[in-house]
Amino acid sequence: MLPLSIKDDEYKPAKFNLFVKLSGWFRSILADKTSRNLFFFLCLNLSFAFVELLYGIWSNSLGLISDSFHMFFDCTALLAGLAASVISRWRSNDSFSYGYVRAEVLAGFVNGLFLIFTAFFIFSEGVERALEPPDVHHERLLPVSIAGLLVNLVGIFVFQHGGHGHSHGGEGHGHSHSLFNGSVGHGHSHGGHGHSHESKHGHDHGHSHGDHGHSHGGHGHSHDDPHCHDDHLHTPGKGSSKQILQGVFLHIVADTLGSVGVIISAILMQKYDLMIADPICSMLIALLIGVSVVPLLRESIGILMQRTPPSLDHALPECYQRVQQLQGVYNLQEPHFWTLCTDVYIGTLKLLVAPDADSRWILSQTHNIFTQVGVRQLYVQIDVAAM
């Protein structure tokens, strides 16, 4: 298990009090804007899901029930983002010498994976429905879809900066829930978790799985601080909440798309009796979700694979040149530069120097050179060449 210690500003006595721990987490959540937004949106989504579940049970609509499950699944994605934003602010300890800041990258990556999974299952359900269109009951679906769309729009508005990696602040990941759920039957994009709803019994009871039109916008988390460098002596997590916010935003956008798709297909079905509209909408939405997730995944994978930071790709060879021009330096070997989290770069390299070189000066010059490009944690090993 990840260690649960939070050594925050206040010192807490070491008694294991669950309430104390929870309140500590709660306070930590409310302290940061990102996690605050995530938390409130999570609450909103959860309540909406509960309402939908109760309504579905009361009206005995399996579609609504399954859609509410989708929303719950979506909430887990939000929860993952929230947990990551809290965890990444914990201090480093013996087991985590770099701290927990990478949790955000991991959360963004996992959310991206969930979104891909979701898209895959929406697609497969769309195919199933195209082959065997079940009867669709769309009377109850439309109002629920519209309500869900509204919830998602709220989310988009709140988290609006995410999704494209250009965060201009504002984490607005409205988690849009696919409002499709409900009666539309097919209109449902499993925004969430690739939850292909059992269209299996669709053909039996003619019940629309539309409820799953639940697209998980995912975490397009908007980079709240594009300038994590400027201000805030804010905890380092601030700048690096980009991944989480991007993931959440994408989830929400996917949900919104799902809702919109359900509404469109419901209208098409009602007006023109085009039963094929539902699965086609589902498939299109699945494709859209898949495509939108790719940038997030590329970035996360790059960071997790210890890739050289893309923003330094051009600057680094220049730095190598400059270092090798220092007096006493014969050679620069084995440079490794990687991203710990957003905007935090770490590098190591080895220098082969002359025996009479001034190591101290070389060291400080090298550090200066790399600090100018933004690498602030640098480890330079000095190997003195044999005469």
Binding site: S92, L106, F114
Partner: protein
């Protein structure tokens, strides 16, 4: 050679599974069974898991460093394992949701014979898969069971843990020897550490697989490292296949019991199906109680609830075994200190080395498997004594099993006001918020400062010095010369495929 057999196995399993997927789709079209179709999609997700693992293995073979990926692609295995574990978890959620829906609206299996047939076919396929991958399984391997909609695949094969696994990994590691041998030189070992590694490796070939601190067999550890990383990946695949197997078993059991116990409503007879809701029009008729004596009732209702129950049990098993894999790969990606290394103790022992005044910013993390990388700032007296200290430090890390180290020296100056524990080359104040870790000093014993003070009085460095007893930030003079030198950076340019 461990990688090649892995790839071969994966390709075999991939072709088998894909073939079975095609078969299932065909059968579903022929029998117009939607359950079979959805099951085939589960099979497709299996195929995707195998593809992910295959891609990871392919990438991880390129352990040479490239321009963009200076550490090589060895981490791809860990990523593959994580992707598979997350995929499995998502599938489990899906299955739970389907099972719950089944609880609320059960329905009978349309053609139990076909289902049994397909189930047994899938079971055989997964049995083969389990045979192929069982040696690599770390944990129990729970493959995922599909919602069990008449889709059975995977064999439920008991695999012997422990001994067999050990033997397999020994063989694998021996064969992995040649491959990793070539790659050792490209890792960021110290220049003088490579050859002794190779020699020692060949000698202590069949040492224990223990990844513990064992300096005498670094090569062995490298082999194990590579193998351990691929083990993680294979474990993910194994879990997938085993889940499939469980699913197949459940499907076969369910269909058999159904066939044996269930009394279906025969078409043409007046029959009432009490288990299914009234809105199911083909089976149930609204027969009044007046004709209860002459109506048939469809078979025992509990049979219909067997399927979701078994599914939920299977999901629990699956989640239980997937969780360790998920945790392990996630922790590696979070740059944790590897489990076998005690940071505190290492720090203490490092500081106890002769010539070492202080240790800052010690970071140890695992690249993949047992490739562990360490970086640190070591404070010592002066450049002349540094090379000896460096050798000792390198040997120390080799003994700990860490072969890729970068040690930055820091030299004390006499007239400085900061304590020995402060980093000489720390970022100036404006970077403090951008440093990743809060606590910079990992070693600040009061005795370090005392040592420094004593030694300060004993030696005087070359820079301007007085007999001050405190240390300060180094100030250097700038000398500018030009050095024409070839850039020795990367050996190969490989574009990242991402």
């Amino acid at each position: 050679m461990a990688c090649a057999p892995n790839r071969v196995r994966l390709l075999c399993m991939l072709s088998l599974t894909f073939g079975f997927f095609i078969v299932e789709v065909a059968v579903s079209r022929l029998t117009s069974s939607l359950a079979m179709l959805s099951d085939s999609f589960h099979m497709l997700s299996d195929v995707i898991a195998l593809v992910v693992a295959l891609v990871a293995v392919r990438f991880a073979e390129q352990t040479q460093s490239t321009n963009k990926n200076t550490f090589g692609w060895i981490r791809a295995e860990v990523m593959g394992a994580l992707v598979n574990a997350v995929f499995l978890t998502a599938l489990c959620f899906t299955i739970i949701l389907e099972a719950i829906e089944r609880f609320t609206e059960p329905h009978e299996i349309d053609r139990p014979d076909v289902v049994i047939g397909v189930g047994i076919g899938g079971l055989l396929v997964n049995l083969v898969g389990l045979c192929l991958f069982h040696g690599h399984a770390g944990g129990g391997g729970h493959g995922h069971s599909h919602g069990g909609h008449g889709h059975s695949h995977g064999g439920h094969k008991k695999h012997k843990n422990g001994k067999v696994r050990r033997c397999e990994t020994l063989e694998d590691s021996r064969s992995a020897g040649e491959e990793t041998n070539n790659l050792v030189g490209n890792q960021n070992n110290s220049p003088n550490g490579v050859n002794p590694d190779r020699r020692r490796a060949e000698m202590s070939h069949s040492d224990s697989l223990d990844l513990q601190i064992n300096g005498s067999a670094p090569y062995e550890e490298l082999e194990n490292g590579h193998d351990a990383a691929s083990q993680l990946n294979m474990r993910g695949v194994f879990l997938h296949v085993l889940g499939d197997a469980l699913g197949s078993v459940i499907v076969v059991i369910n269909a058999s019991i159904f066939r044996a116990v269930w009394w279906p409503c025969k078409p043409g007879e007046i029959c009432e199906n009490p288990c299914v809701d009234q809105h199911c029009s083909d089976h149930s008729l609204n027969i009044s109680s007046a004709v209860t004596n002459s109506t048939f009732k469809a078979g025992p209702c509990w049979v219909l609830y067997l399927d979701p129950t078994l599914c939920i049990i299977m999901v629990c098993i699956l989640l239980y075994t997937t969780y360790p894999l998920l945790k392990e790969s996630a922790l590696i990606l979070l740059q944790t200190v590897p489990k076998q290394i005690d940071m505190h103790q290492l720090n203490t022992r490092l500081r106890d080395l002769e010539g070492v005044l202080a240790v800052h910013e010690l970071h140890i993390w695992q690249l993949a498997g047992s490739r562990i990388i360490a970086t640190a700032h070591i404070k010592c007296h002066d450049p002349t004594s540094y090379m000896d200290v460096a050798k000792r430090i390198k040997d120390f890390f080799h003994d700990e099993g860490i072969h890729a180290t970068t040690i930055q020296p820091e030299f004390v100056t006499v007239n400085s006001d900061s304590r020995a524990s402060l980093c000489e080359l720390s970022c100036r104040t404006q970077c403090a918020p951008k440093l990743c870790c809060g606590a910079v000093d990992s070693a600040k014993p009061p005795d370090g400062a005392v040592d420094a003070k004593k030694l300060c009085e004993a030696k005087t460095p070359t820079v301007t010095s007085t007999s001050a007893t405190s240390l300060e930030i180094i100030s250097e003079s700038v000398e500018e010369t030009s050095r024409p030198e070839s850039v020795v950076i990367i050996t190969r340019e490989v574009e990242s495929s991402l």
